[in-house]
Symmetry: C2
Subunit: 243 residues, 2 copies
DNA sequence: CCGACGCTTCGTCCGCGGCCGAAGCGTTCG
DNA sequence: CGAACGCTTCGGCCGCGGACGAAGCGTCGG
């Protein structure tokens, strides 16, 4: 028998349990999901999202912060919480993919849900139909190469995006990938993440092409945005239609 | 203010909590970690890995199966459990990355831990120093392009790997990416995953270059393997040395 | 300077869920 | 066919941790 010593914890398996247990509480999951919107929120707002009282929320926030999942910033009498790193967002995203793939959870697609499917933020980039179509169009035009689960920006793409005023750092040799794909839980296809994805989101917001929907990760596409996405990226309104 | 209706659960945020809660139990995390080795294990073996009794393990396995995280296969009086899909493995991997990045968990690197750092399986591909060096060498030679967090196989690479007897399906249009990167929790750098990563692992096993270490995800590099990795990929033994 | 507000800490309650021993069911072997 | 084995089901124990109300601390507004 190859049984070495006692049944002792596999290296780091305990660490992963700790993290997962933190995410595993409904209230905390709601908090983290709310923060997947990408913007920092106050404890009060998070309390509302979590669906529990202020004291309970405070406890949750303390635990999440201590574990390094959240970063906190005091500002006046408010405390702004945000996800501590893109890694956290990616872990959440992977879990969403698993959850969406799993056995049918009864999830009546409400009107708000429909807005989320059309366009939403995924931490710091775009997701939903808008996000996936954006990836498709950039791929078709040879600006990014999407080969199954990998993504790469081409020379042409760098030029094109540069023309939009999107300054993509040449090769920062940073931890953060320039361009990676992210599995969309509603579309079950890929959209663009990484520094490029983040740049596309901020650009769209700055130009007023999309606006954030209050208390939600969903974003609404404005009039000017509808034109902008069509002329610049070739995304027709039909492609963004619910059905 | 924009408070719409009651604080009702964000779409699918509850689903993610369910999944995370399942992973969040230490015993279950140990089970899943053990199955990250990529091979199916019996309930008894998993009970040992989990560190709890058989009845308790059985309960855990039932929950994990029902949630769609595990697939089970009856064979004689044994029941073989394995991860239900690569998505699960990726979610676990993301969580490991978060856990490893978090505040210092006291994790005295034992001898077994050292073996894991040298070479181990990560679900169905190679990780550890061997895995990352493999990615490096393939990158240097222009067989794959690693640009930050993205990976792509070149024409040259396809030819090279074909010469090794690795038949990589041209472009299966499958869900499973041909080549993607996976963050190595011990090296804190990328190694290769996807269908390519899986092919590299099975190839190495078939040729006897590596052998699985019992009751562990670690793999040991054989004599012939040491030569093989050096001549075929240009990986010197020094690059695989612990320090 | 006092009251309203935002957030946290403290104390308490209580229910969910993990754990085990014993028993039950199916399979394999002598 | 009976005994050993692998795994699951059942029943009961117990402790962890999430929930809230009340109170405490810091900040902003008149």
């Amino acid at each position: 028998m190859g049984m070495t010593s006692a049944p002792f914890p596999i290296a780091s398996a305990n660490g992963i349990a700790t993290i997962a247990a933190l995410i595993g509480d409904p209230a905390r999951a709601n908090i983290l999901s709310a923060l997947m919107g990408g913007q920092a929120l106050t404890a009060g707002e998070l309390s509302w999202h979590a669906g529990v009282g202020a004291p309970t929320t405070s406890g949750h926030l303390a635990k999440l912060s201590e574990a390094g999942l959240l970063a906190v910033e005091r500002q006046g009498r408010h405390r702004y919480y945000r996800l501590a790193s893109p890694d956290i967002a990616q872990a959440m995203e992977s879990l969403m993919a698993v959850a969406a793939a799993g056995p049918r959870r009864h999830r009546p697609p409400g009107p708000k849900d429909e807005a989320m499917r059309t366009a939403r933020t995924c931490y710091d980039h775009l997701a939903g139909r808008l996000g996936t179509r954006l990836a498709d169009r950039l791929n078709e035009r040879g600006f990014v190469i999407l080969d199954d689960g990998s993504a790469q920006v081409t020379k042409d793409g760098r030029d094109f995006l540069g023309g939009l005023g999107l300054a993509i750092p040449e090769t920062g040799e940073q931890r953060r990938p320039l361009c990676r794909v992210c599995l969309d839980w509603s579309e079950r296809r890929f959209h663009l993440a990484g520094r490029l994805g983040a740049a596309l989101l901020t650009c769209s917001l700055e130009r007023g092409w999309i606006v954030r929907v209050p208390d939600s990760r969903a974003v609404a596409i404005t009039e000017v945005g509808s034109k902008g996405f069509a002329t610049v990226f070739g995304i027709t309104p039909e492609q963004l239609a619910p059905k």
